[in-house]
Symmetry: C2
Subunit: 122 residues, 2 copies
DNA sequence: TTGGATATATCGATAAGCGATATATGTGGG
DNA sequence: CCCACATATATCGCTTATCGATATATCCAA
């Protein structure tokens, strides 16, 4: 009836945020607002501005992305690009992310199959 | 080099905790300490006692599990069993958990493939 | 009898997420 | 021309919640 509770959903999302933001940048430069929309579109969940911009600043401080303002597009936008370190980080973090889910799936998915294939009150 | 940072790893784990605990109970009754070990074994991550017991109490308060003490085993142990509501909850939460993962994978995995199949500094 | 594993439980300092808020420009419609 | 809404970035500290620390007790092996 209920499904995954909001807290769990938020935690899953939060734990995937960095990896998703780096993933969005793999195809080339993006600016904050466009990253926000792409992640929303892909994941179904919204990165709030109050979370996104601090994260972007941290990624920049860590040298995983670099940023530059571009005003010629009409609007002022701050474009972000993966640095080589950011590409490395995307590679290892995404692999870890996948591995973590794979491990946990080994517990959750058999249970799901089991509970799905017999009457609940049996 | 670094992989998924600790914060992300913890958030992912935390967001999967409830589902994993319910999943462990699908095969029959377990007590706190055994749940802790089974989740550790399956996920590679430890539920700290300070997180596990409050969670178990909450699940019980929510009617998803029921508990009874059994002392005849030698040791006093508090055994937990899924209630019908808990089985329903496992079913829907595990399905949601999987779906959330699948959606985010749609963003992360293509990026991982891409970054893996070309030189990082290219 | 000492130490380590087993077993459950509580609690509050500490850390942090993000809602709220601020600022400013572009744009479509009435 | 002005209103409302979408676009775009940014900061801050109130509120919330985690879990390290701690307490208690039994069992077993060395």
């Amino acid at each position: 009836m209920n499904g995954l509770n909001d807290k769990s959903r938020r935690d899953l999302f939060r734990g995937s945020l960095e990896v998703m933001v780096l993933a969005v940048l793999v195809d080339g430069k993006q600016y904050g607002y466009s990253i926000q929309k792409r992640v929303k579109e892909a994941s179904g969940q919204m990165i709030k501005a109050g979370s996104l911009y601090p994260l972007l600043h941290r990624l920049e401080a860590d040298g995983l992305v670099k940023a530059h303002w571009e005003s010629d597009t009409g609007r002022d936008r701050k474009w972000y690009t993966l640095t080589p370190a950011g590409q490395q980080q995307l590679k290892s973090a995404a692999a870890d992310w996948q591995a973590a889910f794979a491990r946990m799936s080994g517990l959750v998915l058999p249970a799901l199959r089991q509970i799905t294939h017999h009457r609940v009150t049996e």
